[in-house]
Symmetry: C2
């Protein structure tokens, strides 16, 4: 039965799509070839990323570097866009302060130094640090079982690793990140004095990985410090706890929340020649964490999005629809840029497509679509066009955090899907740096995005909802 319904969908979808797809032939194939050729030989994306990463560096919301990134990308986009502007947005400002310091202390008073970093949004420890016994758990659910009697006065150590057998590493991340995001808020309810969270990293190494956390609805007086510990040190601590469950953990961090400051989304567009009111958005996020230089997360997505516009301009392709780059501010710790954009523009403009690149600058494999079945028929019709470029993954699924708020109005939401096996080695850590991005892989990603948006520009999007 289910198959039969699906078949009907497919045929219906095909009928709807047919008029719009009739030209998808030789000329599209040649255009994609030109787009890839251009991107692999004349792209500006790698030089732009070099500037963002090596001249500016980590771009935490509210930082000087974030503002430098706003200024730089606006200037560059002005060179290729019809119009470019800033959209003000209030963002939280949080600073890490001096480097964190931590150790655990064995019964014989040996201190074993470990690598930690404050989670983004966490409060500081007392100035002289914080020392307590450690309760290791595999997740939030264990807190209730343990209860206040076991937790109160202790540090909760969340140590559930990312699932290594999951081929889709973002799913493995999704299966763990509640520990980081909500770990402190939940543990505080049982009287924990701090939390230490195993880094969201599939690799064993010494680098702690930061990331957003939230105190939820806790009263500010109940906030407790939260830090990530490297995977190697998480294992080390786990082993030590197995031998001596009463060991003590010490750490100090002097991070600080400063309240809100004004920042900006950077927006630029080429106006459509035939259907200017149909808007195709492509974007990434300008802000990054502070430990590395944010090359993969999300410098790559920023420069790839800019490159879409630059490619169209330099190749002298005049889009029929409006192609708009949106470089979102504050994806990492607030999503304020995405929310502000959707608040002001979602119902003002007709967004037919919104494509996000925020999964690293690795070799592209395809796209994930938040779209109707009929819209997927259209996409599947383009599958053969992408085959020469080894783009094979065109599947229904999530899109991205920054385009998510545009959901509705039949907008096709899309996320670029690069190879993700190395991504979490670098994610939010000190080794998310320029040298970890390969020029060709970055350029292939931009070419793949440009190609897909060329097709959407040419054929538009199905508005019939069949599902």
């Amino acid at each position: 039965m289910r198959n039969r319904v699906l078949l009907v969908f497919i045929f219906l979808g095909f009928a709807f799509a047919k008029a719009q797809l009739q030209q998808s032939t030789e000329s599209d194939s040649l255009m994609l070839r030109s787009i890839y050729d251009y991107n692999l030989t004349q792209s500006k994306s790698y030089d732009w990323l070099d500037h963002l990463s090596n001249q500016i560096g980590g771009r935490l919301s509210g930082s000087v570097q974030a503002q430098q990134a706003v200024d730089f990308t606006l200037d560059e986009l002005k060179k290729v866009a019809d119009t470019a502007w800033l959209q003000p947005v209030q963002v939280p400002k949080w600073t890490r302060g001096t480097p964190e310091y931590a150790y655990f202390q064995l019964a014989d008073d040996t201190k074993v130094k470990v690598n930690i970093c404050a989670l983004g949004g966490s409060i500081a420890t007392p100035e002289t640090g914080l020392k307590a016994k450690v309760i290791e758990v595999q997740g939030l659910a264990e807190l209730k079982e343990l209860g206040e009697s076991k937790i109160k006065g202790n540090i909760v150590f969340y140590n559930r690793p990312m699932e290594p057998t999951n081929i889709q590493t973002f799913e493995a991340y999704g299966g763990c990140v509640d520990q980081r995001y909500s770990g402190a808020a939940e543990a505080a309810k049982y009287g924990a004095v701090a939390v230490i969270v195993r880094s969201m990293n599939l690799r064993m190494d010494d680098l702690p990985h930061t990331g957003a956390m939230s105190y939820g609805d806790l009263s500010i007086t109940d906030y407790i410090p939260a830090a990530a510990i490297s995977t190697n040190d998480a294992d080390k601590l786990h082993s030590a706890l197995n031998k001596d469950s009463s060991l003590e953990f010490f750490f100090e961090q002097n991070c600080k929340n400063w309240g809100e400051v004004t920042s900006y989304n950077v927006i630029a567009q080429i106006k459509g020649s035939t259907y200017p009111d149909e808007v195709i958005v492509v974007g990434g996020h300008l802000d990054s964490w502070d430990l590395g230089d944010g090359s993969h997360d999300d410098g790559a997505g920023v420069v790839q999005s800019m490159q879409v516009l630059e490619s169209f301009k330099s190749m002298n392709y005049k889009p029929k629809r409006t192609i708009r780059v949106v470089l979102f501010m504050n994806e990492e710790n607030g999503l304020r840029g995405a929310r502000a954009y959707a608040r002001d523009m979602k119902d003002k403009d007709n967004h037919i497509v919104a494509l996000e690149s925020d999964a690293g600058g690795f070799s592209p494999r395809g796209f994930s679509f938040d779209a109707s079945d009929a819209q997927m028929v259209q996409v599947n019709n383009w599958r053969q066009l992408f085959k020469p470029y080894l783009i094979h993954y065109l599947e229904k699924g999530g899109s991205g955090a920054d385009v998510g708020p545009l959901k509705g109005n039949n907008t096709v939401l899309i996320g670029l899907r690069p190879d993700s096996q190395r991504y979490f080695d670098h994610h939010h850590a000190a080794n998310d740096t320029f040298d970890a991005v390969n020029k060709r892989e970055l350029e292939l990603g931009a070419a793949t995005m440009t190609s897909l948006l060329y097709l959407y520009d040419k054929y538009g999007v199905l508005v019939q909802k069949l599902d």
Copy 2:
């Protein structure tokens, strides 16, 4: 017409295959899941590679390290195989000697130092080095046009880069490597005193990339030295020549050919329980170049091949057919191991499949098959099984240098195809090192190989030749 014939092939092939494919269902899907799970959690491959790369290092044919690799892999294979043995093979021994030194000298006597390395098999320069003017060419064909009058007494500088727009980087390599392999032999015929070859590298950097070269049928007295120059320095030299075509290039290298020595292929197998006479070979090459530690080329292929056997053994899977690991010696500069294996074994045993991993330890994308159309029908029937693992590339094409000599007898020849965009950044250069291999990507490659060979073991191979 062509399509019609193809269609007939497909239907015929399908009929032939049907009997053998009827079981390819749920149990295969579960087995593949088990294979990937095992490899992503309990694989020995990364630790083996650590030993090959960091305890042994570069394994040039005839070197102490190559022998250490023979000993190590034989010992490890004995632990998982029914039988393991060495096949003696005569290999050329060549040594690099002391590090090479080179510069070009401008009209004002400024010396610009450049990074070069001797090509494998090259002779040395005179002890005091070699200095001459430079003739830049884009390939072998230009030599004839220039003729002896322009070339005699000069250094020929081959500067045709790898084609950046080719998505298949191995094809881009194939389009250039004649300069490296035959450049000296051809230039010597016109009286060149040496050749300098642009490194086979898609990236701009300072690392020279070595690789095999041949003097062809030249008389030994006509041999001239050959070296590779880094891509950055090739561009630098090109620019300088544009300004001053009479500049001089100096280099010295004291590499040496020592004649032949005895080395070994390492062979190990689990005997088939039902069809022991049907042999499935899986292999990589034990030797490597000397500048790095040969982690991608081909340490990865060696440990992945060993891992196939280890996985079957540890998962308690009893193959119906004989699964044989062959670690070939001397792929890089002679292919003596592969030739010796084929000479002794090709017609002695019934090789139904020979799979090679020699394209790096990167994220696997699929396989390239040297197989009949009917055999490809069988492969295409397995396509859905691989989809959860993002394995999409199952295409006709080349296989690999070491399994190539087994062509014939209806043997299906196969090459693992990992993502290749970064491969030539490391290929034959000092940065082909352990840190450039990602553990998960290596393991996914081994799991993918094990999965394919499980299917061939279970279903066998079509012997009907339809094409």
